[in-house]
Amino acid sequence: MKKLINSPDSVVTDALAGVAAAHPSLSVDIANKVITRAGGPVSGKVGLVSGGGSGHEPLHGGFVGYGMLDAACPGEVFTSPVPDQMLAATKAVDGGAGVLHIVKNYTGDVLNFQLAAELASDDGIEVVPVVVNDDVAVQDSLYTAGRRGVGATIFVEKIAGALAERGAALGEVAGIASEVNQRSRSFGVALTSCTVPAAGKPTFDLGDTEIELGIGIHGEPGRHRGALAPVRDIAAVALDAIHADLPLTGDVLVMVNGMGGTPLIELYVAYNEVHQYITGKGARITRNLVGNYITSLEMQGFSVTVCQLTDTLTDLWDAPVDTPALRWGR
């Protein structure tokens, strides 16, 4: 295993120390593993808390700041955080207007946030959870744990964050978060697996000409194994799956996201194909993101997330944001 770390056991705490040193706009409680805005809670504003396993950076800590999250809880690598962290984060961001929990739909995340919300309620803080479940690769049925929360998490955090920054009430903020989730779909493809530091070797093996289709973000095997093909064809598989579930029409926000190990030059090659496919369907990409936003350590691959926009959602997407990973308008 060749990683730029000191030791597998200290990866998360060392990284948090690095985040704290690099970003004075953040307050990083390394011992309790909670990242908040340095200025403290904003009185009268709904607080936004999210969290999840480490290894997906910049998600979520990189999205803490004006116009987006108030707090992020990083767990061990690919492991959801614990209720104590989420409770501490919830209390830290409570400005008296309630707190929104943005929960990616994984059993661990859902259970731990559920336990935390009960504890917060005991302490008199109103918490509303919104579950993100945009991944079309998984059937949402009685026969699965439901669709995974992937790329749309960023859209939810940005748009709900903007509305909260304008002083909207908890119900409204939760409503728009839910709306963004419902209007978004994602599909991911891996060219390689990744190596969890504590495991010491790749989670699964992929041959030189194999790809995994329909991946999540934790380095687990995907839904199907396929043959390496030009990215034009791979993008078409991803977008066919998205389009079949949510027709690509009107104005859309598109994210072509790197899984961590794919160079930007390749992400732009992929974006070109995605752009041609979507405009070929008659939709217009009016906003986009290209880069590493929700990653799986050093996995090579990409995911596409598409959100059907409205004027309101576009306006909130454009609203000022000031976080380590997304910054505009300020």
């Binding site: 690919f78 959801s80 614990v82 994984y106 259970l111 699965t144 989670t203």
Partner: protein, 211 residues
């Protein structure tokens, strides 16, 4: 069985989990994200530290502290589920300084109920329930047949191990493995495997302490 017995059980479970850590991680790599062994090992280390630092005079207090520790320290789905299992078992044992075999059986039934309430899994969905439910049933059957403590817990451990093996041919309907759909077939569920190890530790401690 007194508090010392239950502390010994958790210590033995920790030893076994640590020894099988890589195996459990391998199982979880096949149909998950390769962190089950790591997470549980961390959890049981935390349990050992917690039991060292706090006074736990009753069996119930031992299991409740252990369960709360797992919830606080492990994360993932395993933390809440195993934590809830131990907390539910501990609560069922009340404040008595000693637990009979019947009390123990009732506590494992409560553990199963706690897990199923939180995680909503039923038997046959390729989860820890597929090891725990057969163990509880085998234990109750052994008790009704008048088995000794050691023999009854041996039957429970065997049923848990058989149950874990039976998950190999199941398709996962819960948890991360469910995203794989049919690809999850042919692999043992890591949660069922670790549950079987924990029940094996209970059998082993019983053979030493309460024959």
């Amino acid at each position: 069985m007194d508090a010392a017995f239950f502390r010994a059980w958790l210590a033995e479970a920790g030893t076994v989990i640590e020894a099988q850590r890589d195996h459990l991680t391998q199982l979880d790599a096949a149909i998950g994200d390769a962190d089950h062994g790591i997470n549980l090992a961390r959890g049981f280390t935390a349990i050992a530290a917690a039991l060292d630092q706090a006074a736990t005079p009753t069996p119930g207090s031992v299991l409740i502290l252990a369960g709360s520790t797992l919830i606080s320290k492990v994360g993932g789905a395993s933390g809440p589920l195993y934590g809830m299992a131990l907390r539910s078992a501990g609560k069922s044992l009340g404040s008595s300084a000693d637990a009979s075999l019947e009390n123990l059986a009732a506590s494992l039934e409560a553990a199963l109920a706690g897990v199923q309430k939180l995680g909503a899994a039923r038997e046959g969905e390729k989860t820890m329930v597929d090891a725990l439910a057969p163990a509880v049933a085998a234990l109750q059957k052994a008790i009704s047949e008048g088995a000794s403590t050691a023999a009854a817990l041996s039957a429970a451990a065997a049923a848990a191990a058989d149950g874990a093996q039976a998950t190999v041919s199941m398709q996962a309907l819960k948890g991360r493995a469910s995203y794989l759909g049919p690809r999850s077939v042919g692999h043992e569920d890591p949660g069922a495997a670790s549950t079987a190890l924990i029940m094996g530790a209970l059998r082993d401690v019983a053979q030493l302490h309460a024959p």
